[in-house]
């Protein structure tokens, strides 16, 4: 089932045409990887999915991004609700300079004004369990989130997203600052999370895309050159440009 449908999407940063007539379908409760060289538009595409690009001056979009039947590019879209439903994990983990506990309940407090301690405690426990951090951190909840390791911080940021019960998780190079073991553990977490969430990941690491994703899109110069099952993209891509990129002949 399709969760996100991108239709004839064009995006400009001022005069620069960053996304060119992109069409793609992101399947529900699957992991879709977007790969491509630097500057190809993959992060831009990811950021359109929760309108993070709106924060950039001079950005203009045309076309549609349909999530659950609603075109989120329409003017009246409630961006707070959109970003709650479509959360983003960034390259560098960015916990707030607050306690671990406060990081996780931050969204719940902002969106729902919750003050019920039992409810907040439950949210913290469930969110940390979902990212497999509960056992490690249950006795340190009042410690600063900034004291955690990089991997723990990234997991915490994912837990912070899960706490507001999103439907889609956008991940922009979520493992690029992590060592191979931590990367493997985050990838395991992604596989767990796709039972409940639709995940779109941008990655430079092709092996990671091949390992974790169900579908893969290859972008080049703002175009979505090829979009297919991950198996097909990595063993038998149809477009020569995809072939050249994934075999390292591009450039």
């Amino acid at each position: 089932m399709v969760k996100i449908e991108v239709k004839q999407l064009n995006l400009w940063y001022g005069d620069f045409h960053a996304l060119k007539s992109v069409n793609a379908s992101f399947a529900e409760k699957k992991i879709t990887a977007i790969i491509g060289p630097s500057g190809c538009g993959k992060s831009t595409l990811l950021r359109v999915l929760n309108r993070m690009n709106d924060l950039i001056e001079g950005v203009r979009t045309e076309g549609g991004v349909i999530i659950d039947g609603h075109n989120i590019l329409e003017q009246h879209t409630d961006l707070v609700v959109l970003r709650k439903n479509v959360g983003m994990v960034f390259q560098r983990p960015n916990p707030f300079p607050l306690s671990i506990y406060e990081n996780i309940v931050f969204g719940e407090k902002v969106h729902n004004g919750s003050k019920d301690k039992d409810k907040l405690d439950q949210i913290v426990e469930k969110s940390l369990m979902d990212v497999l951090l509960w056992d490690e951190l249950k006795d340190k909840l009042r410690k600063s989130a900034l004291s955690l390791s990089l991997e723990q911080k990234q997991r915490l940021c994912i837990a912070r997203l899960l706490a507001v019960r999103p439907q889609v998780l956008l991940m922009d190079e979520p493992c690029s600052t992590l060592d191979p073991q931590a990367t493997a553990r985050i990838e395991e977490l992604m596989r767990e999370l796709k039972r409940d969430y639709t995940i779109v990941i941008v990655t430079h690491n092709m092996q990671q895309a091949a390992r974790v994703s169900d579908d893969t899109g290859f972008m080049l110069l703002g175009e979505l050159v090829e979009f297919d099952k991950t198996d097909t993209i990595f063993t038998a891509p149809k477009d020569k440009r995809t072939e050249d990129y994934i075999t390292g002949r591009y450039g």
């Binding site: 063993t235 038998a236 994934i246 390292g248 002949r249």
Partner: protein, 222 residues
């Protein structure tokens, strides 16, 4: 853009060519040994097989090493996995040439049951199929590979003809002919199996070049 990896792939190509050449030579010599009833040549083929076995192991190791170090994808991945399969098929073909030579050793001291007509024809088909399948791999030529696959039916027909003739004209008439007829039956069988292995190689080459599986799907050859 030329990659260091391309040099490694060229090296693998050379190694496959080498085991291919040794295997082709083994088939050729086994049939010559049969024609000439030459036990010395037959022994030589049996001895050379160790070299082919060693080369097979070395190629396998090289392929695994390339996969581990480069994590190849797309056409590179298809090339290496096909190289590994081809390597195993060639080693098996060389084993069949050894099997033929063992039959030659059994036959050499006995008078010929009949003049050899169809077996040399079958061996010519087998040699051509093996040669073309290796050529198709090296040149990444899917058309040539398809022709190899299609020629397998000729080999099957010829092998059936040899079998029918040996059973109907000799074995069923005179059971004492078995010591000379059965080795010939087996040789025809070995040659036909060589053709099957060449067909497997050709099917893998089609996958390597065109990224589509034709194995077990003859309709996809068209």
């Amino acid at each position: 853009m030329e990659r260091h990896f391309d040099e490694e792939l060229k090296e693998l190509n050379k190694e496959v060519l080498k085991i291919g050449a040794l295997t082709e030579e083994a088939i050729f010599k086994s049939i010559e040994a049969l024609k000439n009833r030459d036990k010395v040549s037959a022994q030589e083929v049996i001895k050379t097989d160790t070299r082919i076995d060693e080369l097979e192991l070395a190629i396998d190791e090289h392929c695994i090493d390339l996969i581990a170090r480069y994590q190849p994808l797309a056409s590179d991945l298809r090339f290496i996995t096909t190289g590994m399969k081809l390597n195993a098929e060639l080693e098996r073909i060389a084993d069949l040439a050894v099997d033929i030579c063992q039959r030659v050793m059994e036959l050499a001291d006995k008078p010929l049951l009949k003049p050899l007509i169809d077996i040399p024809k079958l061996s010519a088909i087998a040699q051509k199929m093996v040669h073309d399948s290796i050529d198709a791999f090296v040149k990444k030529d899917a058309c040539l590979a398809k022709m190899v696959v299609l020629s397998d039916s000729q080999a099957d027909e010829l092998r059936n003809r040899v079998q029918d003739e040996l059973i109907n004209d000799y074995l069923s008439r005179d059971v004492k002919s078995a010591t000379r007829a059965v080795p010939l039956l087996l040789i025809a069988r070995h040659l036909e199996r060589i053709c099957d292995h060449a067909t497997n190689i050709a099917e893998d080459v089609i996958y390597m070049v065109e990224a589509r599986v034709v194995k077990h799907h003859p309709e996809k050859l068209k």
